[in-house]
Symmetry: C2
Subunit: 202 residues, 2 copies
Amino acid sequence: MRTLTTLLFPGFELLDVFGPLEMFGLLQDEFKLVMAAEEAGPVPSRQGPATEIDVSFYELAEVDILLVPGGMGTRREVDNARLIGQLSAISETCRQVLSVCTGSALLAKAGILDGRKATTNKMAFHWVEEQGPKVLWQRQARWVEDGKFFTSSGISAGIDMSLAVIAHLHGEERAEEVARIAEYEWHREAGWDPFAKVHGLV
Amino acid sequence: MRTLTTLLFPGFELLDVFGPLEMFGLLQDEFKLVMAAEEAGPVPSRQGPATEIDVSFYELAEVDILLVPGGMGTRREVDNARLIGQLSAISETCRQVLSVCTGSALLAKAGILDGRKATTNKMAFHWVEEQGPKVLWQRQARWVEDGKFFTSSGISAGIDMSLAVIAHLHGEERAEEVARIAEYEWHREAGWDPFAKVHGLV
């Protein structure tokens, strides 16, 4: 059983969080879902609906997998030195670090993607690039795997990446089973990314 | 501005709720998202993470669009006479009623789908059918539109249906724009449903 901890902050994007948690959550015997944030109490999403948290982001016992979503809240959190510092510390010790959408801006700001390949939301690409000039940003990719880091494109791309992480940890067949249960057509090629063109990046 | 009210109950399926709310939530000027449940306080999903509610399901002021998700909690709620009664009353007055996955079991139990075409989760199809023998259940459909009712297949299908509802209300172009922002490949054909075969229904 692995602990999958999601970092929430005000203005997180709903599907960035709950697309992945749906997929991991379908394997209840494999992943324990933990919701963390800076402060206690419900955390409002960018769209409004608020999620309860289980634990302070500064008092995490053990993190096997860390999930960092995006959303408008990242515009503020890139300047939150305490949060960025803790992100850096946790990333050192955990097995996998996942980001969806502009969540990679927070990882980039923490410096932990320096010299690594990563991707992000295709509409916010240039802003995210600025948060980590030493990151090897990939313009066309549904998601990018580099060492223990999995970074995905915008919003819905987190679902495809999560299935890739499940395949990485538990085999392709298990990931396909999860996709079937969710009645989801998995884009299993990390290079599948029509939105890079749609949003003028290639 | 339309009010989109989501009915939550313990054991709701995460993506059934937040897939649609991501899509509607991207049109912040068009839809006001309201979370309702029987009781105050956070409502735990089937996967664990809990969502705050805004209002009691029995004290709703105005509902333009009602969203009813599925999840294991529906197995209990089909026998909740008070909830089913209120569902029936609200469905009478609101403009659109949407269900995702086994959410249609609750609508079926309320009798409001009798004589109408509807669909549901492809793995739980037979159980849902039993909740409404007079419903014209469609085995192969990503979603079904019949009058003001939009019912979708399992879990991820709610995203495609929501885009169809947006297209219905605001035009195809607006729905395409939302899909592009979410970097989502919309299955825009209501008849697209490979999962009916995968799960042995056709």
